[in-house]
C-alpha cells in the first residue's frame, strides 16, 4: 500500500518533469533562432575592413503587426520602413530620395501624380515590384472590409475617392490610383496636396504583392514566413508574439550594394536598468535611458541625446468648464508653468521647452529655408506675473474667486511625476485654483478625450507627414484630435486654405501656417509644454543610422559598423 502511494508521488513528479521538458523545448527553439542569428553574423561586408557588420539592439516592446494596412504604431512603422520600401524614402537630412519610384511628374493642377517605377525592384521571393502592387495595397488600405485604421486616415481627403470607398459609397476600383503598365503608377488626388510626396514614404503607402498576400490569407504578416520584403532588410525569426527577431540584409533589394549591415538582432527589454546593464556588458549596442537614470549616465562617454519631433501640451477643454471657456484664464494657465524647470528637473531626458505649436527642426520656409519655430519665435512663454494678471482678469470676467479643475493624465510612473509637477505649478502660481488629479491608463484617457469628459489634459502628438499641416489640422473646428471645443473661424479659414486655394503656392501657404499658429497662441487653445527627446547610450561603432521625424523612426539602410579601436 505504502509503495503504491509513493509510486503515485513518483509518477506525479515524472509527469510534471515531462511537462516541464515539453515546455522548455519550445524555449530552446527560440534560443536557437537567436543563436543562429549571432552565428550568421560572422560574415563581413565587402570593404568594411573585416569588421563584423552586425548590430545587437534592444527594443521597448513587441511588434504588434507587420501588415502595412494594419500598422498604427511607431514600432510597426520602424520595421516596415526597414523591410519594405515605398515610392520614396527619407534620407538622413529628412529629404525625399527615390525608392521604388525613379522619379515623378505632377500635373499643372497638382491633382495627377505620375510615378515612374524602377524595373529592377524585386520582392524577396524574386517577383518584380510593379505598379499593380501599389494599386492593390492602397485599395486594400481603404477597403472597409480590411478594417484598417491608418488607411482611411492617411489616404482620406488625399487620394481621390478614398473616403467614399471607405464609406462603401463607391467600389475600391474607383480609388484614384491606377497602374499604367507595370512600371507607371498614376495617382489622382482629391485636391492638391503639397506634402503628398512625403506620404509616399509612409508605411501605409507601401506596396503589397497581391498573389502572396492572398495566398497567406489571415496568416499574412503574422510571422517571418508569411512576410515579403522589397526593402533593404528581411525580417527573420519573427512572429507576432516574439520578443527577439533579426533584420537580415535583403539580397533581392534593388539597392543592396548600399546596404552594409549583414544583420541586426533585436531583443525586447522593458526595464531601463537592464538595458543599460546589457549595454555596459557589450551585449547591446544602444540603450534608451529612462529619466531616472539620466543623471547616473549623463557623464558616460557614449551618452547621447536624440531630439524628436513629438510635442507635448495641455489640452484645455472649453466645453465642460466655464473657466476654461474664458480666454484669459486659458492664457494664464499657458503662462503659469515653468517649462524650463519641467524639462530640466522632471523630464531630464534632453526634452526642450516648446513655446509654439509646431516643433523645431521640422518644417522650413520654402524660400529662405528658415525653421518654422525661428520665424514665429516664442509664442507662449513662462511669465508668472503676466499669468496672475490674466488669471485675476479672467476670474473677474466669470465672477468667481476660486476655480476647481480636473487634470487628466496618464497613470505611468514618469507621467505621474509630471502630472504632479504641472498641477503644483498651476496651483501655486494661480491663487484660487484647485486641481484634482485624474491619472488613468492610456486607453481610458483616450475615451475621456473623445467624450470630452475632462477639464485639462496632458497629451502629446507625433507627426504623420512632413508638413506643418500635420500639427495645425489638429485644432480645426471638429478636428479629429480637437475634442476640446476649440473653434476659430479665421484659424479654420487659414488652415483650410493651405489644402485648397494655397495648395500650389508654397510661400503663401507657409505664411498661412505661420499666421494660423499665432491665432492658436492668441486664443491659448492649448498650452504647449515641450518637444521630446530620447536619452541613449549609443556605441560609437554604429554609423549612419538615419533618425526620421516621421514614419520609420530609425532607418538602417545606410548604417554600418565601424572599427572602434
Amino acid at each position: 500500500m505504502k509503495l503504491s502511494k509513493f509510486s503515485l508521488l513518483l509518477a506525479l513528479g515524472i509527469l510534471l518533469s515531462i511537462f516541464m521538458v515539453a515546455c522548455s523545448s519550445g524555449d530552446d527553439g527560440g534560443s536557437t533562432s537567436s543563436d543562429s542569428g549571432s552565428d550568421s553574423g560572422g560574415e563581413t561586408a565587402e570593404g568594411s575592413e573585416d569588421v563584423k557588420q552586425v548590430l545587437n539592439l534592444l527594443e521597448s516592446d513587441t511588434i504588434p503587426t507587420m501588415d502595412v494596412s494594419m500598422a498604427t504604431d511607431e514600432l510597426a512603422f520602424i520595421y516596415l520602413g526597414n523591410t519594405m520600401e515605398g515610392l520614396y524614402r527619407l534620407d538622413k537630412d529628412s529629404k525625399m530620395v527615390p525608392g521604388i519610384a525613379k522619379d515623378h511628374t505632377v500635373s499643372e493642377d497638382g491633382l495627377t501624380w505620375t510615378f515612374n517605377l524602377r524595373e529592377d525592384a524585386k520582392w524577396s521571393n524574386g517577383a518584380p515590384v510593379t505598379a499593380h502592387d501599389f494599386v492593390y495595397a492602397w485599395q486594400r488600405a481603404v477597403d472597409p472590409a480590411t478594417g484598417s485604421e491608418y488607411g482611411p486616415y492617411m489616404m482620406g481627403g488625399v487620394i481621390k475617392n478614398a473616403t467614399a470607398v471607405n464609406l462603401g459609397e463607391v467600389p475600391v476600383e474607383e480609388l484614384g490610383v491606377k497602374a499604367d503598365g507595370d512600371y507607371t503608377l498614376v495617382v489622382t488626388l482629391e485636391k492638391p496636396t503639397p506634402y503628398f510626396e512625403s506620404l509616399t514614404a509612409f508605411g501605409t503607402y507601401f506596396p503589397l504583392n497581391e498573389k502572396f498576400v492572398e495566398e497567406q490569407g489571415d496568416n499574412y504578416a503574422t510571422s517571418s514566413e508569411t512576410l515579403l520584403s522589397n526593402g533593404p532588410f528581411t525580417m527573420e525569426n519573427w512572429k507576432s508574439t516574439s520578443t527577439s527577431w533579426t533584420l537580415a540584409k535583403n539580397p533581392e533589394y534593388w539597392d543592396a550594394e548600399t546596404v552594409k549591415l549583414e544583420e541586426i538582432t533585436f531583443d525586447v527589454v522593458k526595464d531601463a536598468q537592464t538595458r543599460v546593464d546589457l549595454y555596459e556588458k557589450g551585449e547591446a549596442d544602444r540603450a534608451t535611458i529612462s529619466s531616472d537614470l539620466v543623471d547616473k549616465y549623463a557623464s558616460h562617454e557614449d551618452f547621447t541625446i536624440t531630439p524628436e519631433a513629438s510635442l507635448f501640451y495641455l489640452k484645455l477643454n472649453q466645453t465642460k468648464s466655464e473657466a476654461l471657456a474664458n480666454v484669459n484664464i486659458r492664457k494664464a494657465i499657458s503662462m503659469a508653468i515653468n517649462k524650463q524647470a519641467m524639462v530640466d528637473e522632471v523630464l531630464n531626458d534632453g526634452s526642450v521647452v516648446s513655446n509654439g505649436f509646431v516643433p523645431t527642426d521640422f518644417s522650413f520656409h520654402p524660400e529662405t529655408n528658415e525653421d518654422f519655430r525661428e520665424i514665429n519665435g516664442d509664442l507662449v512663454t513662462y511669465d508668472v506675473e503676466k499669468a496672475q494678471e490674466l488669471w485675476k482678469k479672467g476670474l473677474e470676467e466669470i465672477g468667481k474667486e476660486k476655480v476647481e479643475l480636473g487634470f487628466l493624465g496618464s497613470d505611468k510612473t514618469q507621467s505621474k511625476i509630471t502630472n504632479e509637477f504641472l498641477a503644483n505649478q498651476l496651483e501655486s502660481n494661480l491663487p484660487g485654483l484647485e486641481i484634482t488629479l485624474q491619472q488613468v491608463p492610456f486607453e481610458q484617457r483616450l475615451e475621456l478625450d473623445t467624450s470630452e469628459n475632462y477639464d485639462i489634459q496632458y497629451a502629446g502628438w507625433g507627426p504623420d507627414f512632413l508638413d506643418p499641416y500635420t500639427w495645425l489640422n489638429l485644432w480645426l473646428t471638429d478636428g479629429g484630435n480637437n475634442h476640446m471645443g476649440y473653434s476659430n473661424e479665421k484659424y479654420d479659414e487659414l488652415v483650410q486654405s493651405t489644402v485648397n486655394e494655397l495648395a500650389l503656392e508654397p510661400v503663401k501657404r507657409y505664411e498661412a501656417f505661420l499666421e494660423a499658429e499665432k491665432i492658436l497662441a492668441e486664443d491659448a487653445a492649448v498650452a504647449p509644454l515641450y518637444q521630446s527627446a530620447r536619452a541613449q547610450l549609443i556605441s560609437p561603432k554604429i554609423q549612419g543610422v538615419v533618425k526620421n521625424v516621421m514614419g520609420a523612426t530609425y532607418d538602417y539602410k545606410w548604417a554600418s559598423v565601424a572599427a572602434t579601436e
Binding site: M1, K2, K5, F6, L8, L12, L16, F19, M20, C23, S24, G26, D27, D28, G30, S31, S34, D35, P64, T65, D67, M70, T72, A145, T146, G147, S148, E149, Y150, P152, Y153, N166, N219, Y220, A221, T222, K239, S240, T241, S242, S244, D267, V268, V269, K270, D271, T274, D277, L278, E280, K281, E283, F442, E443, Q444, E447, D449, T450, G480, N481
Partner: protein, 309 residues
C-alpha cells in the same frame, strides 16, 4: 481512488466553466474597449473591426460563441496581435514562466525544508537564529530587490551569468534564485514551526522510548507530519510562481506569461486576458487536486475517498 479523481475532475470542469462565465461578464463591465487605442478610427471602420471580432453581437450571443469556442479549445483571436490566436500567445509565453517557476519552487522548497529542519533540530541555537533571520528576510524583502542585487553582483560585476534575455538554461539561473527566496523562506518557517510541534508530541517520546534512531525520528516521524501544512501553502504558491512574475520577467527580459498578461490588460485585449485568466484558473484547480492527493500520500490517516478509517 479513480472514482474520487473522476469526481474531482468533474468539479474542476464546473469550476472552470463558472470562472469563464464570471470573468466574461466582468470583462464586459470594464470601462473602455479594445478600440479606444485606435483614436484615428472612423465610426465605419470601428464597426468593421467590431464585426470582425464579433463584438457587434448582443452580449449573450458573444458569451455563447465564446463558451462554444472554449469547449473546442479555441480561446479566440488576440486584439493586440493581429490575427494571432490566443492559444499561440499562451503557448509561446508559458514555457519560460513554467520553467523558472518550477525551478524556483523545487529548489526553494527543498532548501526551505532543509533550513527548517536544521532550525528545529538545533532549536534556540545559532543555526536556528540564522535560519530564522533568513526566513524573515526572504518573506519581507520583495523578489525584485533580490533580482536587482543578483543582476548587479553576479552578472554585471562578476560576469558569471548573463545579465538578461532568454537564450538557454544559464539565462534562467538568476531569475530562479530571485524567485526561490520567497518559497524557501516560507518553507523554512513552516517546517521549523511544525517540526518543533511534532518533535514535542507524545508519539515522538514513545518512538524515542522504543529506541528509534534520531534520524528515523526526524525524517520518518517528524518531517512527514510537518509536511502537511507546508503542502497546503506551497500548492497555491506554485501556481503564482509558475504563471509568471511580472517584475522578475521584466527585469530579466524574459518572454513570460506574467508580463504578457499585464500588457494585455493595458490594451484591453479581452481574449488574451480571458485566455490567461482561464489558464491560471486551470493550473490552480489542478494544483489543488494534486495537493489533496498528496495529503493522502504523506499522511495515510487522511483518506481521500472518505468514509471508513
Amino acid at each position: 481512488m479513480t472514482r474520487y479523481i473522476l469526481k474531482r475532475i468533474m468539479y474542476m470542469a464546473i469550476t472552470l466553466f463558472l470562472i469563464a462565465t464570471i470573468s466574461f461578464f466582468l470583462m464586459k463591465l470594464l470601462p473602455g474597449s479594445p478600440l479606444n487605442a485606435e483614436n484615428k478610427l472612423s465610426e465605419e471602420q470601428a464597426a468593421v473591426v467590431l464585426e470582425k471580432y464579433g463584438l457587434n453581437d448582443p452580449v449573450p450571443i458573444q458569451y455563447l460563441n465564446y463558451i462554444g469556442g472554449l469547449v473546442q479549445g479555441d480561446l479566440g483571436i488576440s486584439f493586440a496581435f493581429s490575427n494571432t490566436p490566443v492559444t499561440d500567445i499562451i503557448m509561446d509565453r508559458i514555457g519560460p514562466s513554467l520553467q523558472i517557476g518550477f525551478q524556483a519552487m523545487l529548489v526553494g522548497t527543498l532548501l526551505g525544508i532543509l533550513l527548517g529542519l536544521i532550525a528545529s533540530v538545533f532549536h534556540n541555537g545559532f543555526l536556528d537564529y540564522g535560519s530564522t533571520v533568513l526566513a524573515v528576510l526572504g518573506t519581507s524583502i520583495p523578489s525584485f530587490v533580490f533580482a536587482g542585487l543578483l543582476q548587479w553582483a553576479f552578472a554585471v560585476k562578476l560576469g558569471w551569468f548573463p545579465v538578461a534575455l532568454w537564450e538557454g538554461f544559464e539565462y534562467s539561473i538568476l531569475p530562479t534564485i530571485s524567485l526561490l527566496i520567497f518559497p524557501m523562506a516560507t518553507a523554512a518557517r513552516f517546517t521549523r514551526t511544525e517540526m518543533l510541534e511534532v518533535l514535542g508530541s507524545d508519539f515522538i517520546l514513545t518512538a524515542r522510548a522504543k529506541g528509534v534512531t534520531e534520524t528515523g525520528i526526524i525524517f520518518k516521524h517528524g518531517l512527514r507530519n510537518a509536511l502537511i501544512p507546508l503542502v497546503t501553502v506551497i500548492g497555491p504558491m506554485a501556481v503564482s510562481l509558475m504563471t509568471g512574475t511580472l517584475v522578475i520577467e521584466q527585469i530579466f527580459a524574459i518572454p513570460g506569461l506574467g508580463e504578457q498578461f499585464v500588457a494585455s490588460v493595458m490594451v484591453n485585449d479581452y481574449p488574451t486576458i480571458m485566455g490567461t485568466t482561464l489558464l491560471f484558473a486551470f493550473l490552480f484547480v489542478v494544483i489543488i487536486l494534486v495537493v489533496d492527493l498528496l495529503y493522502g500520500i504523506i499522511d495515510p490517516r487522511i483518506r481521500i475517498t472518505g468514509g471508513e478509517l
